[in-house]
């Protein structure tokens, strides 16, 4: 007996062994079908008794083992069922012979046998035999089970008779000595009459009877017999049999205590289990009460033939061992077995049985001791197959007692044994299968998801080894797909634990395998149903962050304000809460503010790095999205060894509108394609992956006639699609041609242009940018590929004022210009200011060469196509950057009254700050040539302005604006009016540049006042002719000259009453004025006019007359006396801009002289 049956368990002791074997040629699958049906009859309830017979079927049993049948009767083959095919009656005798020869193999021990003949068509001449059954085919054999049951019953009868026979024969007959095969030679020549020998025979027989009782279902009797056998055998030191008796005792006790069996379902050893499942509990119930019934029912006792003496010898209840004692007895038995080298198998099997019992008792520690012992039992030379079997069973048993690691260890050893170099045909498939089974023991799960949480913790060295073995085994199995999967898993999960060298090796072999079988994302299902989930290589490269990028500024869509729906879905009842409610997970699903546009290339930026010590080539890296049809444009990249964070931009084009969700990315590394989903990568930072894709919009490309500027606008905060820059002199105008081309696929339907001047400190006069959109708009809609042009005028008119500190040499008394009466009331105003500034300082001059910048942003709002329907538009912005070089400065401005009261002179100190010769001209004035850095004064005669004719600001606007602003506005309009009248231009002939110069910023309140027509308008009419300063009224000496003074009140208040005194004088042009003219001029009437109160918009006329007595040039100075002096509402003196009247009195004609 050399091959242990590792499947044995304690309750097998109560079974009878039946061998089912094919005879002749029987198809294997047919045989096993029949075998299964036969084996389903594992338990037969015997008629007329409470007992059950358990049958153990084997389709293969060594006759060698059968020889141990006396030692433990459940090892004895007591029944034989042969299955055979017999096509015709002719073959029958041959078949029958074969059956008989087979019977002879187990001949001595068989109680009964059966032959099942299949496929026989004809009739058999032979008479009906009970031990042969004929069936026409394997499919039509309905009563196989019934027949087996009958067969079992017949076995029972034999068994029962044997039991009774053996149990009762102690009546002094010589009891034969039962012995195991290897003992036979030891007893040769032994004194058979000694007491010792007799006792030994007795003991062995008791034990045998115990076995039979157990088999026959008489548990209590068996116990009694075993007890007696133990006593007998112990006294004669028959250790082998003592061990067997003890084991029998244990088995019987186990059967009593654990009617459910010790084999466990996991073992799956009994073919009857399929049916036994329901019966197990059932059987359990039947068992124990059955045993008790034996106790109670005396009738049954006698009927079952329990001999009176045994039952009276020892109390029954005590016979059964307590659960704790079972193990003690097992230990004892095993130690006895251990004394015999030849009983190794028995010992091993006892160990296995004991372990199963302990597993039920949950005494793992002791079980492990038994197993430890079992490992060391030497069974001599084992074949490789036996070794594998032994290791697997050890593993199974360790698993049974909860030692999963130990179990895994032995399973792995078994797996390695499958492919030991000594085996001519290594079983890689089996090895692989066993290795897979070890995974749980090593805390390894082939689902990479379990490893995505933080760093790997585990028995790395062991796990890596195991994975390598899996890879190797699967490769040798000829399944490179599996190898690739396992290698990817190894790389993905154990990356941090591999050394650089290992990393290189692993990736190299991975590349080798993928060249044969590229790795993919499909789940690999093994034949035994195990599913290998895909392994996305999310660590090659490692992605740190995913960021969806907005479209470039020029392509960003905007929602029309008016169409803005109120989609502020507030999750919180609070308008604002400092508590951030959402967690990281929600953030991932958060919708991003910006939008993508259908048909436009959208970008996602990943920050990646390569953890490998060599260059990593990633191919076909693309995006995985959902929600919207998305055309991903994969990219290939090559990351240097152990690179730092590396930005990678993945692009794609959404093909439909809707909400797009970026779920992950797709890579192909070392021939393994992987879909890495972001939700499985908690280490990836992202600011949201959901973006709205809006319907397509047209796309405009902008080109300009001016060069593009490299630097962005300084003052503008917003991003610009493009910008141009130009250098201009102050006052210059430049034309900018903008070409807009529709490069998208949608028609451009609307176009709006706006501009915004950036906030600068510089004061800007006039419109900086101006254009006419009419023509461009008329060309709409613009088909794709077409273009439209727009001309924009850039006009720079910055402040031309130069402050006071320039060119002191000109700051002389400005009054000495031309023939102005020094008596003019304006003289006060025009007094030069106090000269405190240091003269001609260089630093101050440089201020004027300072280049100023002017910036503006033009915005082209356009829309079209489906996006327009949804209310979206796009912005194209063009930054205009102008470096303004100073051209001319008006360093100083002042006015001088002109000869006429309605006119005056504007004096401008013009400074040429350019490096070129420059010509300044104004309307109806001479050109003034200025050399570089020259300053000259320019006088322009202007008519005074009647600002009241300027349009009044809107009443509505007045109401709502700041009065200060209003005032400024008023000043501004006035200034621009003056400026337009002046029309000062400059021209630099050398560089052919020209422009205008504006005085707007130069004019101050005082100057403006002087330029304004006074609200009180005085008209003096002499001799029926309106008279002004430079008009010389002619009159004749002696004639009365009528003088009419008319006052028109344009002010808002009533003025007057006034008193005007006309004072004549003669100017000698040498500074001397002669007022003593009483004898030369006489007044007809009073020389004083009284004007009553004049209400607004009314006028009042006073008449008087003069008489010149001599010829000569006379001046009339109309002086004014305010009667209301001191009353508060004083009228400013400047309002009395009464012209001084120049009258030339001529010689009267001869005829008139009298």
């Amino acid at each position: 007996m050399s091959i242990p049956d590792y499947m044995q368990c304690a309750e097998d002791h109560q079974t009878v062994l039946v061998v089912v074997q094919p005879v002749g040629i029987v198809p294997e699958d047919e045989f096993f079908r029949i075998y299964k049906r036969i084996a389903s009859v594992a338990q037969v309830s015997i008629r007329d008794s409470q007992r059950n017979l358990y049958i153990r079927y084997r389709h293969h049993y060594l006759p060698e083992n059968n020889e141990w049948g006396d030692f433990q009767t459940h090892r004895k083959v007591v029944g034989l069922i042969s299955v055979t095919t017999c096509g015709s009656a002719k073959e029958w005798p041959q078949t029958s012979d074969r059956f008989h020869s087979q019977k002879d193999v187990f001949g001595a021990t068989l109680y009964d046998s059966r032959l099942l003949v299949f496929g026989l068509q004809g009739e058999i001449a032979e008479q009906q035999r009970t031990d042969v059954a004929f069936y026409s085919s394997y499919d039509v054999c309905p009563d196989v089970e019934k027949r087996v049951e009958d067969f079992v019953e017949s076995i029972f009868i034999v068994l029962e008779s044997k039991r009774l026979d053996r149990a009762t024969d102690k009546s002094g007959d010589k009891i034969p000595l039962l012995c195991v095969p290897f003992e036979k030679k030891d007893f040769v020549g032994l004194d058979t009459d000694s007491r010792h020998y007799k006792k030994r025979c007795q003991g062995r027989m008791r034990k045998h009877v115990g076995d039979l009782c157990l088999q026959a279902g008489m548990l209590q009797d068996a116990l009694v017999h075993y007890h007696m056998a133990v006593e007998l055998l112990r006294s004669v030191n028959d250790f082998l049999w003592l061990g067997a008796a003890l084991e029998g005792l244990c088995s019987a006790s186990v059967i009593f205590h654990y009617p459910g069996g010790t084999a466990g379902k996991a073992a799956g050893r009994k073919p009857s289990l399929a049916q036994g499942q329901g019966q197990a509990a059932d059987a359990g119930k039947r068992h124990r009460p059955g045993a008790q019934e034996v106790l109670i029912d005396p009738g049954a006792l006698t009927a079952n033939g329990i001999s009176a003496d045994t039952s009276s010898e020892i109390g029954r209840a005590k016979n059964c061992l307590r659960p704790e004692d079972i193990i003690e007895k097992y230990k004892e038995a095993i130690s006895y077995y251990g004394k015999y080298k030849n009983a190794g198998v028995i010992e091993l099997e006892a160990c296995v049985k004991a372990v199963r019992v302990l597993a039920i008792q949950k005494r793992a520690m002791e079980a492990s001791e038994f197993l430890q012992n079992a490992v060391y039992i030497n069974l001599g030379q084992l074949s490789e197959e036996e070794k594998i079997q032994r290791y697997s069973i050890l593993s199974e048993l360790y698993d049974l007692i909860g030692f999963h690691r130990k179990s895994a260890f032995f399973k792995r050893v078994a797996a390695m044994q499958c492919v030991a170099p000594t085996i001519p045909e290594p079983g890689w498939r089996a090895c692989y299968k066993l290795l897979l089974e070890t995974l749980p023991g090593y805390s390894l799960c082939l689902d990479p998801k379990d490893f995505s949480k933080g760093t790997h913790r585990g028995w790395a060295a062991v796990q890596v080894r195991l994975l390598h073995e899996l890879v190797y085994a699967s490769r040798r199995m000829g399944n490179p797909g599996l190898s690739v999967r396992h290698l990817s898993f190894l790389l993905q999960t154990m990356l941090d634990l591999l050394s650089d060298q290992e990393k290189k090796e692993v990736t190299q072999s991975l590349e080798n395998y993928t060249s044969k079988c590229p790795g993919g994302m499909e789940v690999i299902t093994l034949p035994d149903g195990l599913k290998l989930p895909p392994v996305p290589l999310s660590k090659l490269p490692i992605v740190r962050s995913v960021k969806l990028l907005d479209l470039p500024v020029s392509l960003r869509p905007h929602k029309q304000k008016g169409l803005l729906e109120n989609n502020m879905s507030t999750k919180s009842p609070f308008i604002y809460s400092p508590i951030i409610m959402h967690t990281r997970g929600e953030e991932r699903n958060k919708k991003i503010e910006f939008r993508w546009v259908q048909g436009d290339v959208c970008e996602v930026q990943l920050m990646v790095y390569n953890p490998m010590p060599f260059e990593l080539r990633v191919e076909h890296m693309g995006l995985l999205t959902s929600g919207v049809e998305f055309e991903s444009l994969p990219a290939g990249l090559s990351l240097p060894a152990e690179s730092g964070l590396y930005p990678v931009t993945l692009v794609g084009v959404p093909r439909t509108a809707g909400n797009i969700n970026v779920n992950g990315y797709h890579t192909s590394v070392f021939g393994v394609t992987s879909d890495c989903l972001l939700e499985g990568l908690p280490s990836v930072r992202t600011s949201g992956c959901m973006v709205e894709v809006i319907p397509s919009l047209p796309r405009l490309q902008l080109s300009t006639s001016l060069p593009r500027s490299a630097h962005p606008l300084q003052h503008s905060k917003e991003e610009l699609s493009s910008s141009v820059s130009v250098q201009l002199f102050n006052g210059e105008t430049q034309q900018l041609t903008i070409t807009l081309e529709n490069i998208g696929s949608e028609d451009l339907e609307t176009l709006e242009v706006t501009s915004k001047t950036c906030n600068t400190k510089e004061k800007l006069f006039g419109e900086f940018l101006s254009w006419d959109l009419e023509e461009a708009v008329s060309q709409l809609p613009l088909k794709p590929g077409q273009s439209v042009t727009l001309t924009v005028n850039i006009k720079v008119r910055l402040d031309f004022s130069g402050g006071e500190n320039l060119l002191q040499d000109l700051n002389d008394d400005g009054i000495s210009v031309t023939g102005l009466p020094s008596s003019s009331p304006l003289r006060q105003v025009l007094k030069p200011r106090a000269e405190t500034k240091p003269l001609g300082s260089e630093s101050s001059k440089t201020d004027y060469n300072h280049v100023k910048t002017l910036e503006a942003v033009m915005t082209f709002k356009y829309s079209g196509g489906a996006g327009k329907v949804e209310g979206y538009y796009r912005d194209l912005t063009l930054g205009v950057h102008v470096d303004v070089e100073p051209s001319v400065f008006f360093t100083r401005v002042s006015t001088l009254p002109a000869t006429r009261t309605r006119q005056c002179h504007l004096l401008l100190d013009v400074f040429n700050s350019t490096e070129h010769e420059l010509t300044v001209s104004a309307n109806n004035n001479q050109d003034l040539v200025l050399h570089a850095s020259e300053c000259q004064r320019m006088a322009i005669q202007v008519a005074k302005f009647d600002f009241d004719t300027l349009p009044q600001p809107d009443q509505e606007a007045v109401r709502y604006t700041n009065p200060k602003l209003l005032e400024e506005e008023r000043l501004h309009t006035q200034a621009s009016m003056i400026n337009s009248t002046l029309g000062i231009t400059w021209n630099i002939p050398s560089v052919r540049r020209q422009g205008e110069a504006s005085v707007e910023g130069v004019l101050n309140q005082l100057v403006l006042e002087h330029l304004q027509l006074a609200p009180l308008q005085w008209d003096v009419v002499v001799n029926g002719k309106p008279c002004d300063c430079d008009i010389i009224a002619d009159c004749k000496v002696g004639d009365a000259v009528p003088l009419e003074v008319k006052l028109t009140n344009r002010s808002k208040n009533a003025v007057g009453p006034f008193a005007l005194t006309v004072v004549p004088f003669q100017d000698y042009q040498n500074g001397v004025k002669n007022y003593d003219l009483q004898d030369a001029v006489t007044f007809i009437g009073s020389n004083t006019f009284n004007i009553d109160t004049v209400n607004p918009t009314e006028d009042s006329v006073c008449m008087g007359a003069l008489l010149f007595l001599y010829t000569g040039d006379f001046y009339l100075n109309i002086k004014f006396q305010d009667d209301n002096a001191g009353q508060g509402n004083e009228v400013p003196p400047s309002w009395f801009g009464l012209p001084s009247i120049h009258i030339k009195a001529l010689e009267a004609p001869i005829e008139a002289g009298a």
Binding site: S368, S443, C445
Partner: protein, 178 residues
């Protein structure tokens, strides 16, 4: 002479799983990490990330894997021994577990701290100078040193031990033992 010394992390307490109940007080000094761990692993893989080695060192180095296997399998016995002690007795439990199992070449000894951190020492079977008492004192030294490691505020419970002091102590112990 071959010796191997290993420190194995506490298993994730199956507090929530409800199989082997243990009170938080026995689960170690850092209840917060503990709860996090439970949440992190319970639902997905109750088997994983427990009883992994915090530190393992052996001489000779060339056959390290064998020791890994030995220590790994010995954990079955350790677990069994811990669970065998009655729950009520858990507090008074002797930390030293004694000989876990003998193999042909080695003897494996175990020790479990109250926070369920396991120490395993593997010594050559032929080394007769190491009796139970010597092994006991070795474990005590190991435990003291481990406590020092845990006291380091920069050490995260659950990380592999990289302390030089611990390392040198283990080295000294190995030299002494072999």
């Amino acid at each position: 002479m071959a010796v191997c010394i290993a420190v194995i992390a506490k298993e994730v307490c199956s507090y929530w799983a409800g199989t082997k109940a243990c009170t938080p007080s026995t689960c170690g000094p850092a209840p917060y990490t503990f709860y996090l761990q439970v949440f992190g692993h319970f639902f997905f893989s109750p088997l994983f990330n427990q009883n992994y080695p915090l530190y393992i060192r052996s001489v000779p180095i060339q056959n390290e894997l064998k020791f890994h296997y030995t220590v790994h399998t010995s954990l079955d016995v350790v677990e069994e021994k811990i669970s065998a002690v009655g729950k009520a007795m858990a507090d008074q439990r002797e930390l030293y577990l004694g000989l876990l199992y003998p193999t042909e070449d080695y003897k494996v000894y175990g020790y479990v701290t109250n926070s369920k951190v396991k120490f395993v020492i593997v010594v050559d079977s032929s080394n007769t100078s190491l009796r139970d008492n010597e092994i006991r004192s070795m474990f005590r030294k190991l435990h003291n040193s481990f406590t020092d490691v845990m006291c380091n505020p920069f050490y995260n419970p659950g990380d592999t031990i990289q302390s030089k002091a611990f390392d040198s102590m283990v080295t000294a112990m190995m030299v002494q033992a072999s």
